[in-house]
């Protein structure tokens, strides 16, 4: 039996990840030892500091990495090279912005999370927790754990670490998804679904890892890549194993046919968490996918290309087509994120340096717009009349008709949201355009022009539903679309359990939002919550990024291109 050799650990390059994970641990201790009154302040400060510190650490590692090409940490389980740093910086930055949205509170100090997530919805205990003003400050350490996992995920070149990172990033997300303050049943349903399907796909992936190990005798990407070069008659294992591994990654990026969880979870989860998930998870998962496709499977490109092609085309088409018929903003953005996964896949398939750069840029552009868009969604609220006749803020107004006329009543919000939509649609002078241009031209360079063609057509069709929202906001008066608006849900909504299909009006009210008819107003008007300004800051940064990356993308593109080489 060979002795265990202690691997050489280069601590320096691990600092970005370590900062985040250690702070998360400290955050758990804070929950235990800091008095409740100060917990939120401490947690928020810690979280922001950790993420900012992580960004600084990435910046400090940058020039070294640019010179040397990267470092092998933990004996190959972790690789800190250019793409890793770019992805870690993107994740840390977007997590930082998401934290701001997560932390924001509207009037009355009410945040997006349930006062007591473990309480049965509608129970007396929950009501008690609400009236006592309890707060769930555990969201911050959970967020940090997830971020830590995401930062490891694209950095690993080892299947086992890959799996562990996947679980580290997923478990907190399952929890966070179930913690919405309003529409709690929908939220818990989303959490449950996400967990079940996530566990299911983890099993598939683990099976795939097993097959790959069985074929190659190693968990290291480079060893498996080397093994693919020498046929030994067991290629069936290899192909099926790779396919199952890819299935796990496809699940995380939300590619068809592994996308079904996306709309339900995105809709049910608290909106700030949705923004975080939609942006950072996707970045991390695509990072891992890049490393797997570029680092482990190039020898099998011939076999697996067909899989990638089929999945990419299906993802673009299904995401776009399904988004066309949505009537709920969060579901629509969920489908649009599926379509975007397809666009990024075209860049992955290109399998060249340009593709690598393009994907990294696209992820940055897409996630900036995503965090901003979901941040705005979290601010657009229903407004009802309280018992004393004063206007009170209710839940989010996510049904599309409720957004009609927003351009007139809240022009700044509407214009900013339009900016994000235009970026999603890929209109020139926004970051989305440059990203799309980059991935499609990389795909054409890589010989996948048919894929680029499908992508261009899909983005043309996708522009339709983005523009539809713009038209709705600016050129439709709220009365034109006044429908049999279901009464808004009160805080203690008792809900009928059941699945959340894309129902005709796609609303939550139809499935789980049946209000206990107390003093629910006849029809809620749409308004924009002020918040404490944290969301506004985050949205402003996202908007600035979207414009900046659209108008002057060259510095960022150049910076990414200068380090866009994966270490084996």
């Amino acid at each position: 039996m060979s002795g265990f050799t202690v691997p050489e650990i280069a601590w320096g390059p691990m600092v970005p990840v370590m900062v985040v994970l250690l702070t998360a641990v400290v955050g758990v201790l804070v929950e235990a030892f800091v008095p409740a009154a100060h917990r939120r302040t401490v947690q928020l400060t810690l979280t922001l500091a950790a993420l900012a510190g992580s960004l600084v650490a990435v910046a400090a590692l940058w020039s070294d990495t640019e010179r040397t090409g990267g470092t092998d940490v933990l004996g190959g389980s972790l690789v800190v090279d250019g793409p890793t740093l770019v992805l870690q910086a993107t994740i840390a930055l977007l997590a930082l912005l998401s934290t701001l949205v997560v932390a924001d509170r509207v009037t009355g100090g009410e945040d997006a999370f349930a006062p007591a997530a473990a309480a049965v919805p509608g129970s007396d205990y929950e009501e008690l927790a609400r009236s006592r003003g309890l707060r769930q400050t555990e969201v911050f350490p959970l967020l940090l754990f997830a971020t830590g996992g995401m930062m490891v995920f694209p950095a690993t070149t080892d299947l086992l670490t890959l799996f562990v990172a996947l679980e580290v990033l997923s478990l907190p997300l399952y929890l966070l998804s179930g913690m919405a303050r309003r529409r709690r049943l929908l939220s818990q349903e989303a959490s449950m679904k996400y967990f079940l399907l996530g566990a299911f796909v983890s099993a598939i992936m683990l099976f795939g890892i097993g097959l790959l190990y069985g074929y190659s005798g190693s968990l290291r990407f480079s060893d498996i890549a080397a093994a693919t070069a020498t046929p030994n008659g067991m290629e069936g294992l290899l192909v099926v194993g790779a396919l199952m591994l890819l299935a796990g990654l496809f699940f995380k990026v939300g590619a068809v046919p592994f996308h079904m969880w996306t709309p339900d979870v995105y809709q049910g989860a608290p909106t700030p968490v949705t923004g975080f998930m939609a942006a950072c998870t996707k970045v991390a998962a695509f990072g891992a996918l890049l490393r797997v496709v570029y680092g482990m499977l190039p020898g099998m490109a011939w076999d697996l290309d067909v899989v990638l092609w089929v999945v990419a085309i299906l993802t673009m088409v299904v995401g776009t087509v399904a988004a066309l018929v949505q009537t709920d903003v969060k579901r629509l953005l969920a489908y649009s994120s599926i379509a975007h996964a397809g666009f990024v896949l075209t860049g992955v398939i290109a399998l060249n340096d340009a593709g690598l750069t393009a994907v990294l840029f696209y992820l940055l552009a897409y996630s900036a717009a995503t965090v901003g868009a979901f941040g705005l969604v979290s601010l657009v609220r229903e407004q009802g009349t309280g018992e004393d006749g004063s206007p009170t803020l209710l839940g989010e107004a996510t049904r599309l008709p409720q957004w009609a006329g927003l351009g007139r009543s809240h022009p700044v919000v509407a214009v900013t949201f339009t900016l994000f939509l235009l970026s999603f649609a890929g209109i020139p002078l926004t970051a989305g355009f440059v990203g799309k241009f980059a991935v499609f031209s990389a795909a054409v360079d890589g010989g996948a022009w048919q894929l680029a063609l499908v992508g261009v057509l899909a983005s043309a069709a996708a522009a339709f539903f983005y523009v539809r929202i713009v038209v709705l906001m600016f050129f439709t008066s709220p009365h034109d679309t006044a429908d049999e608006a279901p009464t808004s849900t009160t805080v203690t909504a008792v809900a009928v359990d059941g699945p959340a299909p894309d129902g005709e009006d796609g609303t939550v009210a139809a499935t789980s939002g049946v209000a206990v008819a107390t003093a629910a107003p006849e029809r809620a008007t749409t308004t924009v919550a002020a918040g404490e300004g944290l969301t506004v800051v985050a949205v402003a940064v996202c908007a600035a990024l979207t414009v900046l990356l659209g108008v002057a993308p060259s510095p960022v593109l150049d910076a990414i291109a200068s380090v866009a080489a994966l270490l084996p």
Binding site: V239, L243, W261, V306, F437
Partner: protein, 658 residues
């Protein structure tokens, strides 16, 4: 590329694209030229009412700041030897993806610097003038924001180092002019005029786009250095096409035949706008484009000939229209058209004329701006009356306006030693130079230019006499308002006086300091050639023509009584009053067939395209519904889909392998 010499005039050295010299860090300051007014416009528009109190002064300051930067650049450039005076300032790469690389950069050379100084100097004076002129307008701040935007766009246009960036400025100028011409858009006709200018400019823009497309296809690049360096590789027919397309663009912007119709209507804007459009910005852009693309025309003699023909037609056209207009601003507009015609004619003569075209452009910028500001001053004193038949004898009431206007008038007539004499006479001389040994051209173009000078003398004198001389034809009251002409405030007359000084002395000064030589690094050196008639003879003939026109106008409009109601007039007069039926021609040739075409297209669109689109949309939505139905909310069926997905993909992969 030196083989091109034989394509044009044997004795003429074409505008050789000089080596772009390197070290002159000062050139980077050129960015400020565009940035200052742009920033000011942004501030004024973003701050809104908050900047109402000081906004106009910020506008003046931004324009003046650009001028100072321009002067600094000029001093820097004068310190360099002539062959190092062309500089490209690289601003950055907007997009670099494979074959498509879009750079942004500025070209600082004598040509662009000349424009910069003209635009910023005259522009600043017009800004100052507007402070007083627009004093009672509630939206004065917005007006200054647009003025700044106009100046910034024009500066970007002339400073761009590629056709792409030039196009950005080109569109910016179009946009700013649209905003300014329609500034008083609560009057429907004014809004219509703005729209007309916009549409005519769009037609020109198509020309520029076509030219850019051709250039990109031929040279694979759109920056001046690459295009101009590779002209020799292109065939003559390609160059001719590019040249014609560029000419179409120039016609739109510079109001040349047959796209001239918007210029007269563009008088709807506030008078300072007209001054800015006519003197410093906008209409000069076309001349700039042609001169800047001189290398292309050097390889396309046919296109060059067309340029000269268009210039000759426009110069006569404008002059004839100018004779019949009773509206003081429209008469001035017609004269602009005609004078720009001179410049285009000069530009169409090849390298020999480029420098003179720019020379005339500069002097014209001064005296035309002066006269427009003078017209504004007259309107200011006469309660916005523009009908010259209702003026008369105003010289006695507004002395300063009278004398400053007189300076501009003598300059445009070309009376020595006023500015116009030096520049216009050179163009007439150049027009009399035979090209390619073909004397017929010299005679045709020369005679037209000479004739134009005579007509110009007539209608400009008519304008001057009807306004300032003769008996007064206005009453003390008009529409219930009291009407008593008075001199304008100092903020208005000081800019006019400065411009008048330019109108008097600028021609002589520029001649003395060797303006033509100064431009050589940009437009190339042209050997002096003898016109078909001796130079003294030509000067004599020109002066005789001018004197005839002047005398005729004096007899009819200063000595004899001008009727208040316009007489019926001859056929030609009546035609000229309606701009030689250009609107009718436009309607018959373009608008009506266009409308017919549109109607048929709408029908076809409804029947065929809409059908297809609706069908496609139905199909898509149907598919979407199908997907939605699959999204039934049950975790078990989601899991099933994933399993089926994996299995199907595995089967596909294995099938492809097998």
């Amino acid at each position: 590329m030196h083989t091109l010499i034989s394509l044009t005039a044997p004795a003429v050295v074409p505008a050789v694209e000089p080596v772009v010299a390197a070290d002159w860090p000062g050139a980077d300051a050129a960015v400020l030229l565009v940035a200052l007014p742009l920033l000011s416009a942004a501030v004024l528009l973003l701050l809104g009412r908050r900047s109402d109190r000081w906004g106009h002064w910020l506008g003046v300051l931004a324009s003046a700041g650009s001028f100072v930067v321009g002067v600094v650049l000029l001093l820097g450039m004068l310190g360099l030897p002539a062959e190092q005076r062309v500089h490209d300032v690289h601003l950055g790469t907007w997009l670099d993806a494979g074959a498509l690389s879009i750079d942004a950069g500025l070209r600082v050379d004598p040509l662009s610097l000349t424009f910069v100084l003209l635009v910023t100097f005259v522009g600043t004076l017009i800004h100052v003038y507007s402070v007083a002129y627009m004093e009672h307008d509630a939206a004065r701040r917005r007006f200054f924001a647009y003025l700044n935007l106009f100046v910034a766009a024009m500066l970007l246009l002339v400073l761009a180092d590629s056709y792409v960036l030039l196009f950005v400025g080109w569109e910016g100028v179009g946009l700013a002019s649209y905003l300014l011409i329609g500034f008083w858009n609560h009057h429907t006709p004014y809004a219509v005029a703005a729209k007309k200018a916009f549409v005519a400019n769009r037609v020109g823009d198509v020309g520029l786009l076509v030219a850019m497309g051709l250039m990109f296809a031929t040279f694979g690049s759109l920056d001046f250095s690459t295009v101009h360096a590779n002209v020799a590789q292109a065939s003559e027919s390609t160059l001719t096409l590019i040249g014609i397309a560029l000419l179409v663009a120039a016609c739109g912007k510079s109001a040349q035949f047959p796209l001239q119709s918007w210029l007269g209507d563009a008088m709807a804007g506030p008078t300072p706008v007209s001054a800015l459009i006519h003197a410093a910005t906008m209409v000069t852009a076309g001349v700039y484009l042609i001169v800047r693309s001189g290398v292309i025309y050097a390889g396309a003699p046919t296109a060059q000939l067309v340029v000269a023909i268009i210039g000759a037609i426009t110069l006569l056209f404008g002059a004839v229209v100018g004779c019949a207009k009773d509206d003081i601003k429209k008469a001035l507009a017609a004269s602009t058209m005609s004078q720009i015609g001179y410049m285009v004619l000069a530009a169409g003569l090849g390298p020999i004329g480029y420098a003179f075209a720019i020379f005339h452009l500069v002097t014209h910028g001064f005296f035309k701006a002066g006269m427009f500001l003078g017209a504004g001053s007259v309107m200011h004193g006469m309660d916005d009356q523009v009908d010259m038949r209702r003026f008369g004898g105003l010289g006695r009431y507004m002395k300063i306006t009278y004398f400053t206007f007189m300076a501009g008038w003598l300059a445009i007539l070309g009376i020595p030693p006023f500015a116009g004499f030096f520049s216009k006479d050179k163009i007439i001389e150049a027009a009399f130079v035979p090209v390619d040994g073909q004397p017929w051209r010299a005679w045709v173009f020369g005679t037209i230019a000479l004739l134009g000078a005579g007509i110009t003398a007539f209608y400009m004198s008519r304008l001057f006499f009807m306004t300032f001389e003769g008996k007064k034809r206005w009453s003390e009251t008009r529409d219930g308002h009291e009407q008593h002409p008075h001199e304008s405030p100092a903020l208005m007359w000081v800019p006019m006086a400065v411009l008048a000084v330019g109108s008097v002395a600028l021609g002589w000064v520029l001649q003395a300091v060797g303006f033509v030589t100064w431009l050589e690094p940009s437009v190339g050196h042209a050997e002096h050639e003898e016109p078909v008639l001796g130079v003294p003879v030509l000067i004599g003939l020109t002066l005789i023509a001018v004197a005839l026109g002047l005398a005729l106008a004096w007899r009819r409009y200063a000595v004899s009584t001008v009727p208040v109601a316009p007489p019926v007039g001859t056929v030609l007069t009546r035609a000229a009053r309606v701009d030689l039926y250009q609107d009718a021609v436009n309607d018959a040739v373009l608008v009506e067939p266009g409308q017919y075409l549109t109607r048929s297209l709408v029908y076809g669109d409804k029947a065929v395209v809409d059908g297809a689109v609706t069908g496609l949309a139905r199909l898509t939505v149907g598919t979407g519904d199908l997907v939605r139905r699959a999204q039934n909310g049950f975790a078990r069926s989601y899991a099933a889909v994933m399993v089926v997905g994996v299995v199907v993909l595995a089967v596909v992969v294995l099938a492809v392998r097998g």
